[in-house]
């Protein structure tokens, strides 16, 4: 058998691929579900924290800044492992799916809070004052004047960060979530052939290549005007 045949036999084995395709497709939907749940919860809580921070309550802001710094400094895999293997000692049992979801949500919350907050502070103070003096309440000013401008400004960095963090769903395989990578790895060890891994890589390409291209488009579409 030549090297090339052996290579194809290993990585593009049609028979093995056909056998494990259903598992990978199942994993694909787990990844999609996990990613969507992370994006919704992460961005919503990040925006909420940024809005709370704009109220300017000192002790609360310190708490927010510390939390955000904490989840920006810790590697996501460390958080996942800590929640999954550590929390049972505190009487809280999270499934692998829940631990991965919670960890990546906290990470996305922290990164997006930072970006939303930067967007809010980038709106000049004069606009706040002008809006308040026309009789708008604090919340109305935030909702009608500040946030529309701030959010538009933050679209490119938020998009890129969200893509990077949702790719972290692959880390779930470490705590036994059968998302794409988890399914591919169990296929690899059952079949003793890496074709399921090739299939898994393809599944990620199918899922994230359009997302990366979308990110590229967003970057030019909402580019900073100098």
């Amino acid at each position: 058998m030549t090297g090339w045949e052996r290579f194809c036999e290993s990585f593009f084995n049609a028979e093995v691929m056909a056998r494990y395709l259903p598992e990978i497709i199942k994993g694909f939907w787990v990844t999609v579900e996990l990613a969507i749940l992370i994006v919704i919860a992460g961005l919503a809580s990040g925006l909420a924290l940024a809005v709370i921070r704009s109220l300017g309550i000192r002790p609360l802001n310190w708490l927010i800044i510390f939390t955000v710094d904490l989840f920006r400094a810790l590697p996501p895999l460390v958080i996942i492992v800590l929640l999954y293997f550590g929390l049972p000692a505190a009487g809280l049992n999270l499934s692998g799916f829940e631990a991965t979801w919670l960890s990546l949500t906290l990470v996305l919350m922290s990164f997006s809070e930072e970006i939303f907050w930067a967007g809010i502070t980038a709106v000049p103070k004069g606009q706040w004052e002008a809006a308040r003096s026309t009789g708008l309440t604090f919340l109305a000013t935030l909702r009608l004047v500040v946030l529309p401008q701030a959010l538009r400004m933050t679209i490119p960095p938020i998009t890129n960060r969200t893509i990077a963090i949702t790719k972290g769903t692959a880390l779930g395989s470490v705590v036994a979530v059968s998302e794409i990578l988890g399914a591919a790895q169990s296929g690899l060890s059952h079949a003793f052939n890496p074709s399921p891994l090739t299939l898994g890589a393809l599944a990620y390409i199918v899922l994230f290549f359009p997302v990366v291209l979308f990110g590229r488009w967003v970057e030019t579409r909402f580019a900073w005007k100098r």
Binding site: G3, F7, F85, G86, A89, A122, K167, N193, P194
Partner: protein
């Protein structure tokens, strides 16, 4: 409360696990010192290649970059570590991490530097060329220094991500901080080692996060 303290901040267990955790921390730092320069070098190479105005060079390069930005780094790492041996290539944990990180983080560094290079006005290039500098000299002395300076916040942010990412090397049994902590945890059935590792990561990386926070705020405020 005492139970919680014993489960997460158990001093006896910390005393036992301390030597291997320290060893893990050193490996994490060494690993970072290996993969960050590799990624930056790869990034500079990709960014310089992207200045070639030839569509046959341009589109394959974009495809290459986007491919490695679309694949989660852990998937790439597992592929290199567990997949390649089937083709007869045993590259080991360090080899897989070095190559995987070079491809993944190189793509990100490359994108950042490319944006930096493109932000330099064309007039500067023309002026440099008309003074007699060659293309490469112009890139080296005029374009790259400014591109790197202009993208410093993004480069720092990416470097923070790369250092954090070294924790995935634990999955391929490279004995860095998280791997050692998990070993200690599975022997002692206690979460203290993982807690200690988390605190070590935080102490190591917090200054960088603070610095970044400032750089980013300034950047966004300046861009209005």
């Amino acid at each position: 409360m005492d139970d919680l303290l014993l489960a997460f901040f158990n001093l006896d267990i910390l005393r036992q696990a301390w030597p291997i955790l320290l060893n893990g921390l050193i490996q994490t730092i060494l690993l970072s010192l290996l993969v960050v320069p590799l990624g930056v070098l790869m990034g500079i190479t990709l960014a310089l290649l992207s200045t070639v105005r030839n569509r046959w060079a341009r589109y394959p390069l974009i495809a290459f970059t986007d491919f490695f930005r679309a694949i989660p780094p852990l998937v790439l790492l597992i592929f290199l570590y567990a997949g390649l041996p089937f083709a007869g290539w045993e590259i080991g944990a360090w080899g897989a991490v070095a190559i995987g990180f070079m491809l993944n983080t190189g793509a990100y560094y490359g994108e950042i530097l490319r944006a930096g290079i493109e932000s330099i006005p064309a007039g500067q290039l023309e002026a440099a060329r008309s003074t007699g500098l060659t293309r490469l000299q112009t890139l080296r002395h005029i374009v790259l220094p400014q591109a790197i300076r202009n993208t410093l916040p993004d480069l720092t942010s990416n470097t923070l991500e790369v250092v954090k990412l070294t924790s995935i090397a634990s999955v391929v049994a490279l004995p860095e901080l998280l791997f050692q902590a998990r070993q200690a945890q599975s022997v002692t059935f206690n979460a203290t080692p993982i807690m200690a590792a988390a605190i070590a990561y935080f102490i190591l990386l917090w200054p960088m996060v603070r610095l970044l926070s400032r750089l980013e705020n300034r950047q966004l405020a300046g861009r209005r």
